[in-house]
Amino acid sequence: MSSITLRDIRKSYANGPRVLHGVDLDIGDGEFVVIVGPSGCGKSTLLRLIAGLERCEDGEIIIDGRRANALAPQDRNIAMIFQNYALYPHMSVLENIAFGLELRKVPRKTREARAREVAETLQLTPYLDRKPGALSGGQRQRVAMGRAMARDTSTFLMDEPLSNLDNALRNAMRTEIKTIHQQLGATIVFVTHDQTEALSLADRIAVMKDGHLQQFDTPAAIYDHPVNRFVASFLGTPKMNFVTSDTITGWTGRRGVELGLRPDTLRLHREKPGAASIEARLTLTEMTGSEVVLHCQTQSGVMSAIAHRGQELPAPGDRIWLEYDAAAAHLFDMQTGARV
Amino acid sequence: AEVTVEFWHSFGGSSGDALAEIIANFEEANPGITIEAEHVGNYNDIVARLQAAIPAGRGPDAVIMEVTRYGLFADRGVLMDLTDYLEADPLKDELFDFAREVGVYEGKNYIVPFNSSTPVTYVNKDIFERAGLPEDTPLTTYDEILAAAQKIQGALGDEGIYGIAAPGQFARWGLIMDNDSDLIDSVSGEVLIDAPNTVEAYEWMASLVHEHGVASADNVTDEKTGRDAFFAGKVGIMLNSTGNYRQSKASLGDDLIVRPLPCNKVCAAPIGGAGIGILSTADAEVQDAAYEFISFAASAESNAIWFAGTGYMPINRNTADQPLAAETLENEPGIRVSIEQLDVARGRPRPPVVTWMRATEYDMWQAMALGQRDVEDTLADFAKRTRVEAGRVGQ
């Protein structure tokens, strides 16, 4: 049983400006919540507040229904995985994993048995006697995970645990975390600034910017109905294209708005099509496997589109038309950026 | 011709000033000679400097050497034999006997005394009065001294006042001589450390600290503390060098009384201080000039300046006639005591082993005075080792 509720959390560091400006968050038991946002937006701070490593000057932190503002980290029974793992370099993998239990005075036998068990599920058994220095990045990551899992808790905070891994490992670990979440039924708060990670892992995503919570919803909802331009642009690769309605010749819809067009919704034409479209000049193509990303210059700025490799592709410099579906476009207020 | 004499000495402070004055006078009187004087440090520092300098051939031309420790340097031919110079010098007859004797090693003269001192008995009159002791309480025998010390201790011990300062090495030697003995026989060179009278003397000295508790153990491990305590009016009796007279006087003023050393079995006192020797490596011309200076420094005029400016004793019979010295004697009755004592003063032995013996004696004394080792055993052992060592360095 572990739910976390944040009420109007405000936080500034000593002699610093305010970092969090009243954040509200309701995290249910067993939920996988991912916090995303650009660097410096306050993600780690939020996590550290939940962990008890920082204190907030305002607002309430409620863990399992009890106000936890004054609880020391030791007393919150939360496990945390740090951005750089914070593995103890002088302890073996086994000791690292068992250390949390050692600190809680679990007898040696019991804690080692538990650590071995955890190591087994993480396929770390062959490395139990090694020091972290002798592990690869992915192995270290798993040790960090193991350290959290060994703890007898069902609340996990993870601060960009995958950010130091290469792509392949990152994908593998993602699957692993998801599996663990389902197996343990744990509540997980996961910080990342990688949107692919966020989308693929989260039950709900909290998008932050400059210490403000922008949107807190399911991945699909956030991807399909971003509440503002920032959220829209933050999620999705390649990034959503934004076009001011006024620059589109033949635009008939609402005026004074920005259209958000996801690259994969654009269709490429060598000739001006009948449907609504934007004229562009191809500047660069980027192959990414089965698809090709087209970078184009248009009247409304740089836009990107996606084409399949099967297609016959234009060459850089060619004039093309990008057909879009005005109904599927996201519309944002030019001034406020809010969805209209 | 211009001659420069490089001269190492050990005098700073007011002594250094007096020496500088003598040197200036000398240079004025001898225009061709320059004395390049250097204050090296204490006697030990001079030895360390010499030690490094001699193999390099960079020694000075003249050097101050402590009276018990030049033997080795004489023995090894580092110091030149000054006998012929002295024989030809009227100074020879002006020097007190003790002063001449001090510079003789194996029948030859190696140094000419410059600064001499001898231990005397310092008494704090105020403490004596408060302890109910008359000013002229006899302090001639061991027993009398102990009795006085005990009286003081009994009366004023609660105030943190001690009867006596534990004797330093110089005074210890004097007390052994007073008991009609010595550490090494000055004539035969025989080791007397375990002689019955020496043992008796040490037993008495050690008992002051660990048996009777009339002297502070601090003084045993650090001789300075006894002196500082006397200056501070915390000690009734102190046996110490004349060199402490000025500070004692300054600290105690009229409460200071100076008495001769005790005469337990005989009256005797060791001569301390140092003399100036000339290095045999110096050029003949420089040696001549150096001797000129040595002679000048020991003359009545120079000695008067020295005597008046420092706590050291006169070495020249004519010094007292010098106006400056006469004036000092007039104003400082305490000094006269020490001068009178010179009649019984004599030099100490100075074979090469003395250096080793003196260095080791501290340890032995500590062990005995602090009651850690039996006196007789300690001295027997000490004597044995000294004999061995004497055999080693003597060859």
């Binding site: 020391a72 | 050990s10 300098a53 706590g311």
Partner: protein
């Protein structure tokens, strides 16, 4: 770690800490206090303030000059010593060369040598070279610090090699790499070693005693020792004067420390940026 301590407790802790520091320092403070007493007052247990001791130390004993000498000698020893040590440390840390390990071992071995062993041979050497009684004679034997070389080598090994390589790619020679990359990054370590060299040389006693006879070349320690090391049993020590001289020897080093403390503490183990 207590993450929050009440303001009052903090005041209390700070107060107690400072009190402890004062008690810790009391012997030094006492000696400074004493340096302002007349010697009569000192012996009679009274209080009588005077600046005479400083006057005597500087006037009669030329302590100003000794101070200058000490600064010059310790300064040059530190400068050359740290330079040579840094160069050697760089070579030991970054180059694989024949005999390198052996040489490094030989350097480390010198850490254990009491200075008394080298005294007489060095005196002979310098006498032969005619360099006694000169700044050179004071400086030369002191500038090879095996310890600094050892310590800096360990430190430099902790600096990512990629920085050197980047500089080589940028066209640097090894000397340039040392001077423009390694030295600036090792600043805290170099500072601390320099401080140590400086202190050691500042307190050096036996060598200057032996090597210098020219009183114009005396260092502070020799000057101080001449006040303190008087002939036992014969001369009386003027303690307040000694303490005044001793205070003079402390002050410039203390001043220097205050200036570099930040650098020292800011991380003798500070690494390079990723």
């Amino acid at each position: 770690m207590t993450r929050e301590t009440s303001a009052r407790a903090l005041w209390l802790i700070n107060g107690l800490t400072l009190l402890a520091a004062v008690i810790f320092l009391s012997p030094v403070l006492y000696s400074i206090w004493m340096s302002f007493q007349t010697s009569d007052a000192y012996y009679s247990g009274g209080v009588d303030f005077t600046l005479r001791n400083y006057d005597v130390a500087v006037g009669q004993y030329n302590f100003a000059r000794y101070l200058l000498n000490s600064v010059i000698v310790s300064g040059i020893v530190t400068l050359l010593g740290i330079s040579f040590a840094t160069m050697a440390a760089f070579a030991f840390a970054r180059f694989e060369f024949r005999g390198g390990n052996l040489m490094f071992g030989a350097v480390v071995a010198t850490l254990m040598i009491p200075s008394h062993i080298t005294l007489i041979p060095n005196y002979l050497t310098l006498a032969r070279a005619g360099m006694l009684d000169s700044y050179a004679g004071l400086i030369l034997p002191a500038i090879s610090s095996g310890f600094a070389a050892f310590f800096l080598r360990q430190y430099i090994r902790g600096i990512p090699r990629a920085l050197d390589e980047a500089a080589y790619m940028d066209g640097a020679t090894p000397l340039k790499v040392l001077w423009r990359v390694i030295v600036p990054i090792s600043k805290p370590a170099i500072f601390s070693m320099a401080l140590q060299l400086f202190i050691a040389e500042w307190n050096n006693y036996i060598w200057p005693l032996v090597a210098i006879s020219e009183s114009d070349l005396f260092t502070l320690q020799i000057g101080l020792a001449r006040l303190y090391r008087v002939n036992p049993g014969e001369d009386v020590i003027d303690w307040p004067l000694v303490m005044a001289a001793s205070t003079i020897t402390i002050l410039p080093v203390l001043l220097g420390f205050v200036l570099v403390e930040r650098h020292l503490v800011r991380g003798i183990t500070m690494g390079a940026v990723k």
